[in-house]
């Protein structure tokens, strides 16, 4: 496919790579919203160009560095990337876990990220364990003026909630969706009382059904090695990947008719409705809802 015409997706900031990996002078050839792009560092500054059919550099678009990642846009965003003041707090470690390609809609990645009900079955022994499978009631809302989804008061028993966790705990979560392809969860820190650890996904939609998922952690943890933290996150993410790749339809259905089927998961329902109200089409299911097999 070629560059999407979906202005909701175009007029948004997307993370397209870890700034340390796009070292000075080294280009990253990648893809965003159906468009081949080139990302490179020019001194301390990140730049992004459309790639021409012959691989040469075409039109330049805005790029900026934030949270250790290069963020770019193919359009004209009305608002900056999300604000995460925790990045300025002392004592936290930023762990960039690298990008992983998934043959799934970027929206499916975010929706799965919000879903706690799969923990005992997919992340058995880590984020959940049978027979404790119930997702207790939690709150979910769209917060203005930033137009972000927040789900709060999410509680779940977890056998190993974090790399630093020593035994099981009831974790409290807050989920935040700041734009269609960006989500962060705030999770009870097992080490520092009253603090939240952050785990975030910046999903880079390459095509309708393919994306690169950039995952980071921003945690208080003096004991785990960097590699321990990365492996913890990789294990969880890869447990999801094969399931995400097999979800059908590939695109996320946004029709209101589908909501009854997912009523159990309030944040998923709210995410789909929020996307529908924005008019986003990239990565959504465009088929006939009536004839589609359930």
């Amino acid at each position: 496919m070629t560059k999407t015409t979906d202005n909701v997706a175009l007029n948004d900031w997307q993370a397209v790579g870890d700034v340390d990996e796009i070292t000075s002078g080294k280009r990253r050839n990648t893809r965003l919203l159906g468009q081949d792009i080139i990302v490179e560092m020019d001194g301390e500054r990140a730049r992004m160009f459309e790639a021409n059919a012959d691989g040469g550099m075409g039109a330049e678009h805005p790029a900026q560095i934030l949270y250790g990642y290069v963020w770019v846009t193919l359009g004209t965003p009305a608002k900056p990337p999300l604000d995460m003041p925790e990045f300025k707090e002392d004592g936290r470690r930023l762990v960039s876990c690298g990008a992983v390609t998934v043959r799934a809609s970027a929206l499916r990645i975010v929706e799965n990220f919000l879903d706690m009900s799969h923990f005992p079955y997919v992340h058995t022994g880590i984020l959940g364990e049978e027979p404790v499978t119930e997702v207790t009631d939690y709150r979910f809302e769209v917060r203005q003026p930033d137009d972000e989804i927040w789900a709060t008061d999410c509680n779940f028993f977890q056998p190993q909630a974090a790399a630093s966790a020593d035994g099981g705990q009831v974790s409290e979560y807050m989920y935040r969706v700041s734009s269609p392809f960006v989500s962060v969860l705030y999770k009870t820190c097992p080490v520092v009382e009253g603090a939240w650890d952050l785990v975030g996904i910046f999903v880079q939609p390459r095509d309708e059904g393919v994306c690169d998922v950039h995952t980071f952690m921003l945690v208080f943890d003096d004991t785990s090695t960097y590699t321990d933290l990365v492996h913890f996150q990789h294990e969880i993410f890869m447990q999801d990947r094969s399931i995400l790749e097999n979800q059908r339809p590939t695109g996320l259905p946004l029709s209101p008719k589908r909501e009854s089927a997912i009523k159990a998961d309030g944040s998923s329902m709210l995410y789909r409705r929020w996307l529908r109200q924005k008019g986003l089409t990239f990565g959504t299911y465009q088929g006939d809802e009536e004839t589609e097999a359930a």
Binding site: T101, T225, D228
Partner: protein
Amino acid sequence: MIQFYDYVLSGSCYKVRLFLALIGQEYEAVPVDYYPGGEHKTPEFLELNPLGQIPVLKDGDVTLRDAQAILVYLAGKYDTARTWYPADPETQGAIAMWLSFAGGEIMNSSAARLHDMLFYDFDIDKVRATAHAAFRVLDDHLTDREIDGADWIVGNIPTIADIACFPYVALSSDGGILLDDYHAIRRWINRLKKLPGFEVMPGIHAT
């Protein structure tokens, strides 16, 4: 204590982890920052394995690279019943043939997976086709074995040949290689998952 240089998403490391679990042997895992860090290409790691590959196993004065070599060593040393790598030359020759296959032809499935997940630069059509050709050989072999009343690659009980071949066959959908046409392989995978002590890895689900 056995030290095992490990990466949670590596199918080759999983061969060793799985075998250690099946024989109930304890070990100390040493996590290697394979991705995104590329620790296996650092000078320190190249001292351990000049090929810059995982896994590596250290046990006392013994340092071994290559999952297949490690399986041979562990089975010989720690499987006291000597069922996973029996001592007779006929069985050992057959096992060696399939160990080589596991470290050779089947690794095309690993290449497809690295290409599709982690941006490795392989000719994806070629590696997928080569993996399919290898899977066809394995499926035909397993079909013949079933006709002979045997459930495993060599002999009537599971051996390290099964363990070496299993991960990158079971993980093949990660690299866009589907097993729909390989019925004997799929039955063999299900049998393997039922072995006492079986352990999953991300991308391989319990039955």
